[in-house]
Symmetry: C2
Subunit: 427 residues, 2 copies
C-alpha cells in the first residue's frame, strides 16, 4: 500500500493512480472470435460456448418459468424481504428521474421535447461463483420505470445449468420474466445480434468482467451500451473529524470486490492517515485474501496540504465512489466535478448505497466518471425534439435558414423553405 503526501508522489505513482484505463488487446482478439461464432451460428454457438467456458449444458437457454418459481421458494424469507426493501428504495429514487415532456411557444414557433422508452433492453448480471441479485434490481428497476416493455436478463449458469436461485428471485421481484442462462462475451453477442432463442435488444447495460466489457465495446456499432466498466474503486476524502475505523472498513469493503479494486484515502489529517493505517492492519486479518491483495497492490493513503488540494485530486481521480467525511460536506459536494456517486458523512457507507439507499450502483470506474454518468432512468429513454412553425415563425427564421443553406451549397434546402414563403402570399 502506498503511503505518501500528495506532493511527495512521484510522477509514476501519480500516473498509476490517475490513469486507470486498461486495454487488453489479447482479450479483445478472443472476444472478437466469440462474437463471430455467435453471429454466424446463433444458438448452437451459445450452447457450445457455455459448455466450453462454463462447463455446463443447460437444457434450455431461457430459464423456464417453473425454475424461476422454485427459486423464489428456495431463497430465505429474510433475503427476499431485503430485496423488497432495496427495490422500493431504488424505485423511490429513480422514479424522481422520470422526465416530463415539455414545450414552449415563442414568436409563433412551438418547440419541445418528448421522452420515449427504449423498446427492449438487455441487462448483463455477473454470476458464476457468486451471485449479484442487487445488480438485477439496479438495471431492471430503472428500465421498468422508464417504460421499457421488454427487459431481458442474461446471467451465467451455475453448476446445475441454471443461474443462482438468488439472482432468479431478484428477477422475479424486479418483474423480469425473460432470463437467459448465458454469460460472458457470448451473452453480449446474443443480445446484440439476436439468435433464434434470444431476440436482439436495442441496448445492453450492466457491469461485467474484462471479456464482457470488451464485448460491449465491440458490438457498440450494433446496439447502444452503457459506460465501460473496470475494477471497482473508492476514494475517501476525509479531514480530522473522520472515524479511522469506518474509513478502514470502507477501504476493505471496496477491496474485497476484486484483486484489482482500488481503495484510496486522501486526507488533510496526518493523524487520521496513521490511524487508518493502524486500523487497516487490525481489520485486514478478517478480510478475505482478495481484499488484502487489492489493498497491497492498489491501496493508497495520501496526505493533502489543504482541503483544496484534496478536492482537486479527487476531481482528477474521478472515482466511481466518493466518500466525503469532512466537517462541511456540502461545501465539498459543490466543488466536485467528476465522480460516479457521492457518499456524504459518517453514516453513508458505500456498502449501504450498493444495495439499499436507492442510488444506482452501476457506475463509471477507471476515471470514466469524467465523461460518463451512473445508470439511471435517462439511459432507458430517448429524447425526441419537435417543432411546429407558424407562417410568422417561418418568415422570421426561414430567411436565415435560406441564407445558410445557400452558403453551405444546399440549394434544395433553400427551395424547400422558399416554396413555403412564396405560397404564403398565394394562399
Amino acid at each position: 500500500m502506498l503511503f505518501s503526501s500528495l506532493d511527495g508522489l512521484s510522477q509514476e505513482q501519480r500516473e498509476r493512480l490517475l490513469n486507470r484505463r486498461r486495454t487488453h488487446a489479447e482479450v479483445e482478439a478472443r472476444v472478437a472470435a466469440i462474437l463471430e461464432r455467435v453471429r454466424l451460428h446463433g444458438d448452437s454457438a451459445l450452447l457450445e460456448l457455455t459448455k466450453e467456458l462454463d462447463g455446463v449444458e443447460p437444457e434450455t437457454l431461457r430459464v423456464p418459468a417453473e425454475v424461476m418459481e422454485e427459486a423464489m421458494s428456495s431463497v430465505q424469507e429474510e433475503v427476499l424481504e431485503a430485496l423488497e426493501t432495496a427495490k422500493s428504495s431504488i424505485e423511490e429514487f429513480h422514479s424522481r428521474q422520470v422526465p416530463e415532456d415539455w414545450r414552449y411557444t415563442k414568436d409563433g414557433a412551438t418547440l419541445g421535447m418528448v421522452y420515449r422508452p427504449l423498446e427492449s433492453v438487455g441487462c448483463y448480471v455477473p454470476g458464476g461463483r457468486a451471485s449479484y441479485p442487487s445488480t438485477v434490481l439496479m438495471c431492471a428497476v430503472p428500465a421498468r420505470l422508464a417504460g421499457v416493455e421488454r427487459v431481458v436478463v442474461c446471467t451465467p449458469p451455475g453448476e446445475h445449468g441454471y443461474p443462482a436461485p438468488l439472482t432468479l428471485a431478484a428477477c422475479r421481484i424486479a418483474g423480469v420474466e425473460e432470463v437467459y442462462s448465458i454469460g460472458g462475451a457470448q451473452a453480449i453477442a446474443a443480445l446484440a445480434y439476436g439468435t433464434r432463442s434470444i431476440p436482439r435488444v436495442e441496448k445492453i447495460v450492466g457491469p461485467g468482467n474484462v471479456y464482457v466489457t470488451a464485448a460491449k465495446r465491440l458490438v457498440s456499432g450494433e446496439v447502444a451500451t452503457d459506460m465501460p466498466a473496470g475494477p471497482s474503486e473508492v476514494l475517501i476524502l476525509a479531514d480530522a473529524t473522520a472515524d479511522p475505523w469506518f474509513v478502514a472498513l470502507d477501504m476493505l469493503a471496496q477491496a474485497e470486490h476484486d484483486p484489482m479494486a482500488v481503495s484510496v484515502l486522501v486526507t488533510t489529517s496526518e493523524e487520521l492517515a496513521r490511524e487508518v493505517v493502524d486500523a487497516l492492519e487490525r481489520a485486514s486479518g478478517e478480510a478475505p485474501p482478495a481484499a488484502r491483495e487489492a489493498l497491497t497492490a492498489w491501496g493508497a493513503v495520501l496526505i493533502a496540504e489543504s482541503l483544496d488540494e484534496a478536492v482537486e485530486f479527487a476531481n482528477a481521480f474521478a472515482p466511481e465512489h466518493l466518500e466525503v467525511m469532512v466537517e462541511d460536506e456540502e461545501q465539498v459536494l459543490r466543488r466536485i466535478r467528476s465522480a460516479g456517486s457521492v457518499f456524504l458523512g459518517t453514516r453513508s457507507p458505500v456498502a449501504c448505497g450498493d444495495y439499499a439507499s436507492g442510488t444506482n450502483h452501476v457506475l463509471p470506474t477507471s476515471g470514466y466518471a469524467k465523461a460518463f454518468s451512473g445508470l439511471g432512468v435517462a439511459d432507458f429513454m430517448k429524447r425526441i425534439t419537435f417543432q411546429k412553425l407558424s407562417d410568422e415563425a417561418l418568415e422570421r427564421l426561414g430567411r436565415a435558414a435560406v441564407t445558410l443553406a445557400r452558403a453551405e451549397g444546399l440549394e434544395m434546402h433553400a427551395r424547400s423553405i422558399e416554396a413555403r414563403l412564396e405560397r404564403r402570399y398565394h394562399d
Copy 2:
C-alpha cells in the same frame, strides 16, 4: 424509386428500408491503421496524413488567431447575421435543457443528483469541398450552455491549408477559439489520444463520413462519443391534407445531402402519392445529380391502409427526421416512439430546423433513433448522484444491505455497515 403499398412490399424491400445499418470492414481496417499511426507518432503523423489524404500542408495544426479574425471579415454580412440568428434560436431551445440539481429527504435519507459539465469536448465538423458552419453551432452552443470549459473544433483543411472561412467564422460566433485544421480519422485519433499540439478531450461529438464514424467507434473505449452516424434521411408521414409540392421538395432536400440519403413518403392518400411522384419529376430537373441518384436508389413512396399502419411503419423505421403533415399532428406525435426530431405541419420543413429553428441537427440515423437521442445539453454533462444518511436512515436501510451483502458473499460490506450500527449505541 420504390412505389408500393406498405403491405405490397416484398420481405426484401421491407428489410432494405428498415435495416439501414451498414458495416464497412475494409474501412475499419484502414481507420485502425490511421489511429495507430497517430497514437504512436502524434503530430508528425497528423501532418503526414493531412498531406497524404487532404493534399495540403498547413503551417500549423492549430488555426492562428489572425486567420480566425480574417475569416470574419471575409464572410458576407448577410451570412454572419444568419449565423447570429441561428445561434440565438439554438441557444433559446438548448438553454431550456440545462438541468437543475435536485434533492429530497425522506425518513432521514437525503438523496439527490447534481449535474456537472464535461471538462473538455471535441466537435468534429465535416469539411473539405463544402463547409458546414451550422454544425459548429449545433455542437458548440449546447456544449457552452452545459458549461464545458474547453470546446475544441477539428475540421478538414481547405485547399490553402486552413479550413473554410465560413466554418471559422461560425467558430468565432460560437465562442470557440481552439480550432484545428485536421479532418477524417486522424482528427478523431488526435482528440482521443492527444498529441503535443492537440491535448486529448473527454468526449467527441459531431457527424462525419464513414471514416470518421468508424474512428469514433474504435476509440470509444478511450473517450466518450455521441451516436453513430450514417447517411441522412427523412420519413414524411402525410395524409390527403398535405401539399405534394412541399413533400417533393423536402424529399429532394434530404436527397441532396448524399447519394445514399434516404427520402421516404408514407401516406394514407393514394392521390397524394401520385401527385408527389409527379412533383418529384417536375422538381428533380433542378436538383443536383446526387439528389436524383439518391432518390432513384433509396427513395420510396409508400401507401398505407390507415394512419395506424403508417405510424407503425414510421416507428419501425425510426427516421432521423420525421415530418408529420396530417390533419391531427398532435395525435401522431403522441404515438411516435422512435425518431431523431419531429417536424409538425406544413410550415416546418426539415431545412428550417437544420439551421434556424433551434432544435439540434446532429441526430441518430440508420434506425439508431430506437436507442439514441439527438445531441443536446445532456450530452455535455454528467449526472452525479449523492446521498447522506442519518442514524435513523442507516438503521432502516442498513439491515437490508447487511443481509444482501452476506447473501452476495461480501463480508466486509456487511461489516462496514454493522460497525456504524453498533457505534450508534456506543456513541
